[in-house]
């Protein structure tokens, strides 16, 4: 088929019809998701004008921030054609351990001025360690990351519940966090929340990492063809483990924002958002087959999913129907990715 492939690529698009061309452009474009979001919001605005009220828009904005961070981490893992299902349980584990350190009720460092800082470091360390553990098992034992992270997800969500029960009398959450830590959730500079600043900085860092550094190119190479990457001197194993560590790190950073907002460390943190994190990345055009993904795409994915979620709730739909619809939307995005993949393979 090499010959026809050549002919296809050198052919001018003249013979292809205009709507078909537009369709193909949209199919491959990052902006498809943004366009869909706008259409969706506009359509919903006719029925529930509240969707564009300043309070609601501000709520969506605040909701997006930590989800975006976690989705960026997951993107790194998807880029090397792996998956991380444990992202949300490492959030839960990190947040209860962090809370147990800094809580004023029998916390390990209760009342100490640097308790918040140590807690934050602990959350980050737990996230990265779980990430490295995932990467290590995937690479060294050559196990499918789906299985590895499914089991670490189960282990750490269980461990988080056990840990919470061991540290509180109520057993459900660890509250009374120091005000300095809670500031991360609600405080800000000149009206801009800290969470927003953190998110924007991280997004820019990831964007530069992917497009402007050797590591970013290596990630792409490993995702596209690990064999060719290895022969070209790319340390494939280290890159994959690094991506898992980044996924854990970003989950931890998201967990810090969530915990500060909830004013408590709870083992069920993130239980419901695993689907959103993976869904946002996939809707945002990160390929499940590896090697393809952009920060802006993931942003659009998060935006879309949050708008869908919010809109359906405003319409008064039950939580279960919102879930079903979101599942359908994410499936559609995954199918689109698969179609793109086969279309490309065919030329």
């Amino acid at each position: 088929m090499a010959e026809t492939g050549h002919a296809l690529s050198s052919a001018p698009g003249g013979a292809r019809s205009r709507p078909m061309q537009a369709f193909r452009w949209l199919l491959y474009s990052d902006y498809l998701v943004l366009a869909l979001t706008l259409v969706y919001v506009a359509a919903l605005w006719l029925f529930v004008p509240e969707i564009l009220s300043p309070t609601n828009v501000w709520n969506i904005f605040l909701q997006i921030l930590p989800l975006f961070i976690a989705a960026l981490g997951l993107m790194m893992v998807l880029m090397v054609a792996q998956i991380d299902l444990s992202a949300t349980s490492s959030m839960a584990m990190g947040c209860v351990v962090g809370a147990s350190i800094m809580t004023s009720q029998d916390g390990y460092l209760a009342g100490q001025p640097w308790a918040s800082a140590v807690a934050i470091l602990a959350i980050v360390a737990i996230g990265m360690l779980i990430g490295v553990l995932n990467g290590f098992c995937t690479i060294v034992f050559d196990m499918p990351s789906f299985l590895v992270t499914l089991t670490t997800m189960m282990f750490f969500s269980g461990a988080a519940i056990w840990y919470t029960a061991a540290h509180t009398s109520s057993g459900s959450s660890i509250g009374s966090l120091p005000p300095a830590f809670l500031e991360i959730g609600y405080g800000g500079v000149a009206g801009i929340p800290y969470a927003a600043i953190i998110t924007v900085v991280l997004a820019i860092v990831v964007h530069l990492l992917l497009t402007r550094t050797v590591f970013g190119r290596w990630v792409m190479a490993v995702g596209l063809n690990p064999n060719a990457a290895a022969i070209s001197g790319v340390p494939v194993r280290a890159v994959v483990i690094g991506c898992f560590a980044l996924s854990g790190l970003f989950a931890a950073l998201a967990a810090i924002i969530y915990t500060a907002r909830l004013e408590a460390g709870t083992p069920i943190l993130g239980q419901r958002i695993l689907l959103d994190v993976i869904g946002a990345a996939v809707i945002g055009g990160v390929s499940l087959f590896g090697g393809k993904g952009t920060v802006i795409g993931v942003l659009f994915g998060v935006l879309f999913l949050s708008a869908v979620d919010n809109g359906l709730q405003l319409l008064g739909l039950s939580l279960s129907s919102v879930y079903a619809i979101k599942g359908g939307v994410i499936l559609l995005a995954a199918v689109t990715d698969a179609i793109r993949h086969t279309l490309r393979a065919r030329g």
């Binding site: 296809l8 052919a11 292809r16 402007r212 063809n225 060719a228 790319v234 090697g291």
Partner: protein
């Protein structure tokens, strides 16, 4: 009824306004072998895909035994008796031989019930395997068979469907010399049974040996057709390329070989793979490596480059001893490695030409603690080497490697290593699956590198190529070095004998 099985006339086909077949026509008698040759992009595959029902024609006539046919898909083509054996075999490695043969027409119990009649299946599979002379159990999973035997399974499959015409697309690329011999025998036998064959290949010697008639395509047109006796290799090449090539191999400035050793290999062994391999590769030298598939040539290359382990021996570049499994150390010592599997290991098919070319050089071309890259500088560097090897594409930062022809893809692989200016270049089958014109350019690049003082380890299954290009040839067999031949002693027969000797 005439004695023609197949008559093709006035075949035209275009893709998106580009005409790839123009008025193609040829004839094929019953029980004859037709060789179809041409460079990549000349329209061979398109023609065969039309016959096999994969593509539809724009205009033209295809007559099979006097009846006009137009198969809409490969199933219809098969029902008409046209079987297409692709370069990449379409067998299921995890299924058994018999299951593969009868996959789409399992014998059923009482002809109707949805249960497979295992006994009939086994019997018919045995008969089919006998026809192709394959002595394997029908229940063996296909993945346990060597490449050559898998091909025989594919042929057996075609025979059970009462094929009248079997099309082979580059059938010998992954076969050993012995397997190729066996395939040729089977083809002769099929011919004797009245089955017609279309044989597509880049290996012109095989075509001349095997085929009764030959058709040469160039730019979608038939530029030569006739009996085998009318052609010689020189004439075939001239027809394919459209100009006279006086030589198959470019002139080489003699005496570039220096006395200093570039790569020194001493007693390298890995159980079951290679045994006690020792040789010196000098600067300015092309050392050819010959041997059958499975002789340890490619395995040795992978060990040298640090991709596979070795348990004993020493590999030295100058003062540096290369540890096992450290491709980065090998690269930093000036080694480069072009793999025999261009698609699987050489390229990121979905990435641009530029991204492919710069991949091995990223670290050296980055700055600072975070290994910062400047995309514009990378693009500039890539353009430089792409021009040097004459990659035939304009926007190299946008064109995806998958869309390039085989020859151009190979040039991209060469370019990505040239950017590192290697002193030792291991080339494993650098001209496999690329057309005559591109081959000549690859040879020229090799000669330029040697003239500049680089050392080349040139692994190839084509003995003519080694005889044309190498200063010395090392013959391998069963993981061992069988001997060395100096340029003055190059002799096809002796080299073959040395490789085959057990």
């Amino acid at each position: 009824m005439s004695d023609l099985l197949l008559k093709v006339s006035g075949l035209n086909k275009s893709f998106f306004g580009v005409q790839v077949l123009r008025d193609v026509g040829f004839e094929l008698p019953f029980g004859a072998v037709l060789g179809l040759i041409g460079e990549n992009g000349s329209g061979k595959s398109t023609t065969m895909n039309i016959l096999g029902g994969v593509l539809t024609r724009d205009s033209g006539r295809v007559e099979l035994a006097g009846d006009e046919v137009a198969p809409a898909n490969s199933r219809e083509a098969l029902a008409l008796g046209i079987a297409f054996i692709h370069q990449e075999l379409s067998l299921f490695p995890n299924l058994s031989v018999e299951e593969n043969i009868f996959l789409d027409h399992f014998p059923k119990r009482m002809n109707r019930l949805p249960f497979i009649d295992r006994r009939t299946l086994r019997e018919r599979a045995k008969n089919a395997l006998e026809l192709v002379d394959l002595h394997a159990s029908p229940v063996t999973p296909v993945m346990r068979l060597p490449q050559g035997e898998r091909q025989l399974v594919e042929i057996a499959k075609a025979l059970t469907r009462q094929a009248r015409l079997i099309i082979f697309d580059e059938p010998t690329t992954s076969l050993t010399a012995r397997e190729t011999e066996r395939l040729f025998e089977i083809i002769s036998r099929l011919r004797a049974q009245g089955i017609s064959i279309i044989y597509i290949s880049h290996i012109l010697g095989d075509v001349l040996r095997l085929c009764d008639n030959i058709v040469v395509l160039r730019d979608g047109r038939v530029v030569g057709a006739g009996l085998r006796a009318d052609f010689s290799i020189e004439r075939l090449v001239t027809l394919m390329v459209g100009r006279t090539i006086d030589r198959l191999f470019p002139e080489r400035v003699a005496g570039s070989r220096q006395h200093s050793t570039a790569l020194s290999v001493r007693g390298v062994s890995q159980p079951g793979i290679v045994k006690d391999v020792s040789f010196d590769l000098r600067l300015g030298e092309v050392l050819g490596v010959s041997g059958l598939m499975g002789s340890g040539r490619s395995e040795l290359a992978r060990i040298l480059f640090g991709l596979d382990p070795y348990s004993e021996g020493e590999i030295r570049v100058g003062e540096v001893t290369l540890p096992p499994l450290a491709p980065r150390v090998a690269m930093d010592s000036g080694l480069a490695f072009l793999t025999e599997d261009r698609r699987g290991e050489g390229l990121m098919m979905e990435a641009s030409i530029t991204d492919n070319i710069v991949l091995p050089s990223l670290v050296e071309r980055s700055s600072g603690f975070v290994h910062w890259l400047k995309p514009s500088a990378l693009g500039e560097a890539a353009r430089g080497v792409a021009e040097r090897v004459r990659v035939n594409a304009k926007a190299i930062d946008r064109i995806v490697v998958r869309t390039l022809s085989g020859g151009n893809q190979q040039k991209v692989v060469i370019a990505k290593w040239l950017l590192r200016a290697p002193t030792i270049f291991i080339l494993d089958e650098p001209t496999r699956g690329i057309d005559v014109g591109a081959k000549y350019e690859v040879y020229k690049i090799i000669n330029q590198m040697v003239a500049a003082g680089a050392a080349i380890l040139f692994i190839s299954s084509e003995i003519e190529e080694l005889i044309g290009m190498a200063d010395r040839i090392m013959v391998m067999g069963r993981g061992e070095v069988r001997g060395f031949f100096e340029r003055a002693d190059f002799d096809r027969e002796a080299l073959m004998k040395s490789a085959l000797w057990d």
